[in-house]
Each structure stands twice: as C-alpha cells, then as structure tokens.
Assembly symmetry: C2
Homo-oligomer: 390 residues x 2
Amino acid sequence: MMQETINNQFLIKKDITFLNFGSFGAAVKPVFKAYQDYQLELEQDPVHFITQSGMQYLKESRIALANYIGCHDNDVVYVTNPSYAVNIVAKSFPLKQGDEVLTTNLEYGACDKTWKYYCNKVGAKYIQQPITLPVTTKAFFVEEFFKGVSANTKLIFISHITSSTGLRLPVEEIVAKAKSLGIATFIDGAHAPGQVPLNMQELGVDIYTGACHKWMMTAKGSSFLYIKKEIQHLFDPLVVSWGYDAFFPSDSQFLDYHQTQGTRDFTAFLTIPTAINFMQENNWWNVAEECRNFVLQQAPRFLELLQAKSIAPLNHDFLVQLFSIPINCKEPEKLHDYLYSKYQIQIPVMRHGNQVYLRYSVQVFNTIKDFDNLFNALKEILETTNFIEV
Amino acid sequence: MMQETINNQFLIKKDITFLNFGSFGAAVKPVFKAYQDYQLELEQDPVHFITQSGMQYLKESRIALANYIGCHDNDVVYVTNPSYAVNIVAKSFPLKQGDEVLTTNLEYGACDKTWKYYCNKVGAKYIQQPITLPVTTKAFFVEEFFKGVSANTKLIFISHITSSTGLRLPVEEIVAKAKSLGIATFIDGAHAPGQVPLNMQELGVDIYTGACHKWMMTAKGSSFLYIKKEIQHLFDPLVVSWGYDAFFPSDSQFLDYHQTQGTRDFTAFLTIPTAINFMQENNWWNVAEECRNFVLQQAPRFLELLQAKSIAPLNHDFLVQLFSIPINCKEPEKLHDYLYSKYQIQIPVMRHGNQVYLRYSVQVFNTIKDFDNLFNALKEILETTNFIEV
C-alpha cells in the first residue's frame, strides 16, 4: 500500500482510521469533481441538460459501464442502489402461491425484507438455506446450498459477496448449476464491481445488480441492474412515469421503463466513465490483488486477539477485500460508536442473525498503521471494557 | 424585475432567454453551495455522514420544511419527485374493483400513467373529468369537476397548479367539498411550493406532494410527500428496505417506511432550509406577486400575436407564474428546438391531449427583454415558417 499518489485521491479525513470501505465506498477526487461539474452544468441550463445533453452523457456512461461488466448497453440500466433493483425484481418476478425463491441465510437484511414482503403477497416462499460456517470449499458450498432446491424453486437469489460476513460466493458454479436445473438466477453484487472483474455474458446470469458507489468509487446513489434481454419484458417500472406506455418509445422498452422516473439529479450515474478510467490508469486489478493479500496477512493476529475462528479458509477462495470476524458482543452499535469516538476508527460491528461480526475492509489507502490502530484499540477494549467477551 | 442582486443568485447561463422555470426550476447559488458542501462532507467520512450527522441534518431539514408547509415534521417525508410520491400512493391506496379515482383531464401525463397502471391492476376506474376551457370562475370549476363524483368515488386526485396548462386550481374549495362528501383528497402540488403559500393543516388535505426543486429553488431530486397521520399506515414503502419491519423502529413508522431506502446521495434534501432562508430574506411572496403581475402584463400581446384565446381570465384566480397559450402546431418538439437553437430561447411547447401549448414562466430574473426576444422570435417564426398555424 505504498501508492502515495493514489492514496491522496480520496477525500476521507486523514484523522480517521477508515476500515469501512465496504458499507458506502468513497469517491475518488476526479470522480467527485466530475460529479460536481455535471451538477453545475445542469444548473446552467436545467432544461437542456435534463432533456438533451445529460441524456447523451447518460448513454455514453451506460456504454462505458456495459463494456466494463460485459453486456450490451441496452441490457443495463442505472438505479440508485441494489435495494432499488431488488425491489424492481421482487415486485414483478412472476411468482405464484407455493413457488419458492431460494437464497442463503447470509443475505443482506434489506433484501430479505423485500423478498419476504413480495413473497407474502402471493403466498410464495423465501427459502433461506442455512450455510455452515466456516465455509470450506466452493464445491461443498454449492452442494449444501442446492439442498435447498425443490420442484417449486423458480429463482435463486444470492449475493456475489456477502455483506455482514464478507464472503465471495462461488456464483459461477451456482449459475451454471441453476441453468442445468432450469432455475433462473439473480445475483446481488452490491459489493462486487471494482472488487472482482465482472462479465455478465460469460457468467450467463439472468439478473444482476451491482453498486458502483462502493468499490468502483463513483458518486453515491449510482448502481445498476442488468437483466437478460429475453426476460426484460417481465419487469414493470418501480416508478411508473413517462417511459411506461411511452408516447415516443426508444429502441429499448427496458430503458424506457426503468430509466425515466421523474426529475432527479442523475449526475451520479455520469461519473462511471471517470471512475473506470481512474481504475484502468491505476492498474486497479493489481491494486485489488494487493488489498486482498493484505486482508489475509492481517487476519491471523486479529483472530488470535479476539479468540475467534475464521469463517473461511485464509485464502482467496472466499475472501476478497473484506474480512468479518465473529465476536461475542451484546451491544454492537455501542462498540462501533466507542471505536469511533475514542479511537477515531470507522469499522462496522454488525448483527447478522444471532451472531455479531467485526468487519474490516482494505482499500488502497489502508496501511499497516491503520491495522495497528485497530489492534491496539481492540486490545485496550478487551482489557478495560465488557464490550467483547472472549 | 429590477432586483439585480437576486438575479445574480442564479447559475443559468446569461445567453439563454430562460422562460421555462416551470419544468425543473433552478437552484440559487447559496443552495447550490450548500448542496455541494454537504456532498464534500459526506465524502470526508461517508459512514458517519450517511448514518449519523447526515441523519441529523435531514431531521432539521424536515422540521424547516414542515414549518414552511404547515404540518408536523413526522407527517412529511422527502421523496425524489412528485412522480415517486404518486407511485407510493397509487400502489397502496386501498382500491377495489369498481372503485373510482376522480381527476381532471388536465393532469400531468406521468401521473395519469401511474394511476391507470394501478387502477387497472384491481379493476378500479380512473375518471378524467373533462374541464371546459377557458376556465371562468372557481365556483364553476368546482361545480363542473364534482359532476364526476359517483357513489364509487374513493379519492380525488388533482393538481394544485397544472403542468401543461399552468392553471392554479381551486384546491381549497375542492378539499372542503370532498370532505363534506367523505371523499379522500390527494393534491399534486408539483408546481406549488414557492409559487403559493402552503399550509397542510389549514387546507385539511389528506395527501399532498410538492416539488422543492422547482419554485423553492432547491437542488434537483428534492420533493416531499405529506400524509395525514390517520391514514399513514395504509402506505407501504415503494422501496422496501431496513425501515420496513425495522429492527430499531423510530417514533414514526411513516418515516421508517419511506425515508430509508438504501444508499443514496440525500444531500439535495438538506438544501431546503437554505432555500427557505433565501426566500424569507428576499421577501419572496413580494417577489412572487411581482412575477404574477408580470405574467398578466405580458399575456395580451402574445395572445394577439398568436391569435389565441386565453384559457383563463387574465387575473389571479387561476394564473400564477405560468401562462400557457394554446397554439396550432403539428411538431411541438421541433418548434421547441428551433426556438432554442436559433433564438436561444428556452420555452416549452407541450402536447396535452389534442392541444399544444406554448408555456412561459416568470421568475425573478426575467425581464421585459426576455419577452421582447420571445415576441420577436415568434413574429419571425410566424412570418418565415410553418411551425404555427394562425
């Protein structure tokens, strides 16, 4: 992590030990500048920008994103965040009474809520297949997960990289197997773009959502929804607007339905090409690899200190730029606030089911000093408080 | 319109004759600065801002808005735009087969689409009561509109100020009469906040949505939805997220449901107090009155030039800061582009049903020169092209 010039491209305050890139990412300076420059351009002639020039930029941005994630630009649409995308899909995915959506018990809570809400409406079931932790091999993961399949399974919904547990799941194998069984797949890639390379066409997934404002470092509220052309017609807009039953339809009903949704500041979506350029200029897959190695390198001393067992083998099968350590902690919100207020360490302490996880992220700017800060703080907390029981 | 200091508070390019404040408004400089300052603060510690300090600012902003529109701050929630709000309401408003939603034939097209979509799902009817143009008196308007009421009418949905036709409708009288008939009311105030004073409690309306990014001059994508406390429980979130069946519910389920919806840049919502201060410091209701007078003053020469009949009496009963002139024009999109590219005049030429309207707006910065530009351009267009038939 010695790329001083890259480190200075972030706006995060230097007095914070920022170990939570995972929750909301952080925009790099050229992206932030592009964002605010577009906003100024918008205000200089709102009508022209919103109806014409901005629409052209939006198309160019979508083309850049489509190249980056390996799909046709008419098959991907910008959405505010993956929650929004999951709501589009869950609202319209054709489910009848008795149908099942298969997922894991490691999914993001807001998505679980969405699926339960829409499954309840029609009497479908949301099956949260339990995954044994620690995970061991991809093959075992796939085997265990597919035990949840029944004759009623119509869709598999699964994270590419889980949130609380920070595990990269074997989505390539899962999609392939689902295909062979004739089950549709929807991958929640909230944490994936920018952490791992994506190619929708090679993956062969039916539906995929990813956040750009996390690991792609774009402006907040920029995410995407990819849907395979053959099934796009199933999905109604979440915000019905001019694009529904359009007076002047474009060549893509998918875009008409989901891109047009009333006046908003869509300039966050326009920052994607700047972010992609930034990553390419800085050999981002090398950077990501260094970060992944750093994640593994730091893990043992924290597992030892917290007397915790890793929830995954310490290799790259399941681990990327996040590492979640299971801890015994009754008041995770208070521990988070204590770490932040007393030590200026920003790190999430998350509930998931009955377990609490301390999750660190590694981004290019994180140094050994950040992790020493965390280590020393946790040591002191173990010695002087009751927040964590070991 | 001689307030030179106020005029310089807008970012709109000086070489444009900007006569379309109505479509998307335009932010004033202090608002735009607050917007971008908040965005920088967000990026300096995204986690702290999105989960803590920003939430506090959001609450303060909601309190300022609630004071401005005369309601309790827990009864109003920020939404991106009125289309979003109409979708929340139309998705959840309890309608059964045969029920009717009464509206006019002057509503915003995107809202019509939304209501038709959701009414179709349950077999309810969306009754677009025809309004005779020109409108004459408020009393006649109310009488004609209420002819659309039947025993099945469950909701009245109506614009406070219409879009294509730019008419302020007598919503006070409509709400009062609906109440006496036991019919719920939902007012689409997209164009109202900042053009006319609002007081939800005095108005006694059940549901109201307004855009802040138009005439309140805030950042794009900032609007609100007010729902009377007694019926808030009817409305599910459009984006189901953490606030639904919340682990840590707040004292307002309404806010939990509609405010929490995944990661987004919510700083546009935070600019409302700055905008309200700006308006108060500049005696905005006096400014608005001057603008309304200017609207009326300009009307006759344009009606004469275009050989058009005003769609409302030239007084303040129905007219505020918009004026729509019915014209015979086969290609409104081309006429708009021609006015913009040849004369740098930004003015909408809108289809509504079988009619086309040329609609001008008056904001504080508009001068007699702007209207001379428009007049001379239209004169030349009438003489040299076939865009408008008179």
